[in-house]
Symmetry: C2
Subunit: 410 residues, 2 copies
């Protein structure tokens, strides 16, 4: 099945529109003094909302709020997003601050409080100053525009080094469907900045239960397959809004061709955003796919891939451009998945280095060192047991990562 | 129960003797050119042997050999140890090289092949040159001495910065029992140097099944409670030899007072060795106890303590002397143990920083920063759920760690 979608590369950022969606960003003054730190995504019509949220048992107040709204399956008109303060570990006052925020936004934009989603990213344990939001709302409303997405993506950044935007376009019943994604990272790695946030807006008409299912499945193959340091944050949020403004016949079944086309385009956006987060991992210089094949189940393949991808010894070896397969095979061995050490093969891109759990020789190891010099490569571990497989995407561990995270609050 | 034991601090290293045990170290030339890299621990009489080994499914050849010998419960006369080459991921040839090594040692020392244990630490995936061992054995035999333990502990080092030795003495039936422990680390963190090795020799008379049970239980509370980077190696080994030369009535029951006294002394040695490994963690500047209390079970407490102790964000914050409790509570939340975020308290030594999952204030956070400046401190997480608890010992994550592990083979 060929990709019929247009991607971000084909369309100039300033030309991207998603019918019925407006955005704006401004400076509220939470923590960052010289940049925007408050943004809104606004839908002219009520939009279907789907979402997936952090599995951390310590959940930030805005995550609890969004989860409740989306579970109720009521339409959404706006997402208000701030950077600098995570509003996590803030107790009852944290929930009240979310309620106050939704009140202010509802008042300013003449919508219902229950139509306002809230997302926060920043320091854990500090309270959100809702007066700053109230004060900034008139400016935010004035700046609302259909092509402000670069500003929105920039305002939600914390330690990110670049704004993360992706776009896809697909035709359904001769209607052009636009899908725009915005994200901030840098994954679970951001220092005491807790968080990954991602927002997707689309003008497709679709039933909410279908949208939720596509969101869940799409996240499983994108945001849930990346790791920078294995530290799941308290605020991780992915929200997808669909307002139906494209005018297609609403997608009502996951098995339809229409749904398949939309799914493919949506998954592309989710995947691309997730890869941007890995590439922007703090201190990262390498973008690496850990591919485990020949496993007895996909679940076991994923477990092994994550153990390798999170190993500090593997990640420092990657940073040092050292094709240190011993550390990889040791990580495979300590995952509690089913393996047979004497059946393992390891490849760096197309260089086959390990066979039957042993080195194939110095020549192959030399060739693998050349692969490690690349900015992007694939490490394939073939367990030789079955036909299941999984890929996880990660980056290297550099002294810069430690420096950033050790010195952040000093 | 007061400690009746003498520790290493009370006795000069050169005066330490364990009756009937001799040791020696020499330069075989595996990898390190300017230092000893081969050592032997030799018992004049057959000794009972107990051991615990890596749970990594990829096990080095010497680990498989030792496990087999100890499971058979046959007496042991010698442990031959090399540093520089791990003899892991070496397939059938790896096993043959172990067999060849035991043959050489048996021949040189006039003992049985099955009485020779073998331990290796070093690079994974390279073959052990047994000819170097054969060549070095006459020198090793010539140097055998009852007070060569500093030399032995030094010869088994890889990236360790100091030799790790501990000693305890206890009286049982008016007989003085000596317990000497030797270890190398630096935990699971040693770069492509796979490994932790620890050896304990004692002249106590004890039944093998009791010795094995004490060894297993002692390791669970010492070596299995430390983490530097969570990377379990392929070669981790703890072997305890007891030759009965002290002449006490053999310990035959775990419930006896005699056993209790020996257990206490042995556990002290195991614990002290394990702490030396954490203190010598690569690039480590802090030695930190993560104590989880108020848990619903010891197992859950341990799980949470390990999640906190292995979190790169927590470890970098410790390095930066930042009392960043948000990262600690986020790590607690992502462990899959039972918790209630609003019931969590956190202390840095005696400074109470978090109550009911929220900051107690800026003053307390300031006081906690002072605690972080210490070289050793305790982080206590009180879950407020039950009466179970566990401690795990870890170190900080420094840029130096990354540098050592990235540049090791270059």
């Amino acid at each position: 099945m060929g990709r019929s979608t247009k991607s971000a590369a084909d369309v100039k950022l300033g030309e991207i529109r998603v019918r019925g969606f407006l955005g704006a960003a401004t400076r509220a003054g939470f923590k960052y003094r010289d940049r925007d730190d408050l943004a809104i995504i606004f839908s002219e019509k009520p939009a279907r909302a789907a979402g997936v949220f952090t599995l951390n048992k310590v959940k930030a107040a805005p995550v609890l709020w969004c989860h409740e709204i989306i579970t109720r399956n009521t339409p959404v008109r706006a997402i208000i997003i701030n950077s600098g303060v995570a509003n996590a570990c803030t107790g009852t006052r944290g929930y009240l601050d979310v309620a106050t925020t939704t009140n202010h936004v509802a008042g300013a934009f003449k919508i219902k409080k229950s139509q306002v989603l809230v997302a926060s990213t920043g320091v854990i344990g500090e309270f959100l100053d809702t007066a700053l939001i109230e004060k900034a709302l008139p400016e935010l409303k004035k700046k609302l525009s259909p092509n402000s997405w670069h500003d929105v993506a920039s305002a939600i950044m914390t330690t990110d080094t670049f704004p993360k935007i992706d776009y896809a376009r697909v035709n359904i019943n001769s209607k052009q469907i636009n899908i725009l994604g915005l994200a901030k990272g840098a994954g679970m790695i951001a220092p005491n900045m807790a968080t990954m946030l991602a927002f997707v807006i689309t003008d497709v008409a679709i039933h909410q239960n279908i949208l939720q299912e596509l969101t869940r499945a799409g996240a499983a193959q994108s945001f849930n397959r990346i790791t920078v340091d294995g530290d799941t944050s308290t605020n991780d949020t992915l929200i997808v809004l669909a307002n139906g403004a494209a005018g297609n016949k609403a997608i009502a079944s996951v098995d339809s061709d229409d749904c398949e086309r939309f799914r493919e385009a949506l998954n592309g956006v989710l995947f691309n955003l997730s890869q941007m987060i890995v590439k922007d991992g703090e201190g990262a210089t390498k973008h690496v796919e850990i591919r485990v094949i020949g496993a007895v189940s996909d679940r076991e393949a994923e477990k092994i891939a994550f153990t390798v991808a999170n190993s500090p010894l593997v990640k420092t070896a990657i940073h040092g451009e050292d094709a240190n397969w011993g550390r990889i095979i040791a990580a495979v061995g300590r995952s509690d998945a089913t393996i047979d050490p004497s059946g393992i093969s390891i490849y760096f891109d197309d260089v086959w280095v390990v066979n039957e759990g042993m080195s194939r020789g110095k020549k192959e190891e030399k060739a693998a060192e050349e692969v490690l010099k690349r900015n992007h490569f694939v490490i394939t571990v073939d367990l030789g047991l079955g036909t299941s497989h999984a890929s996880v995407f990660t980056c290297d561990l550099s002294p810069e990562y430690v420096k950033i995270n050790a010195e952040y609050r000093s």
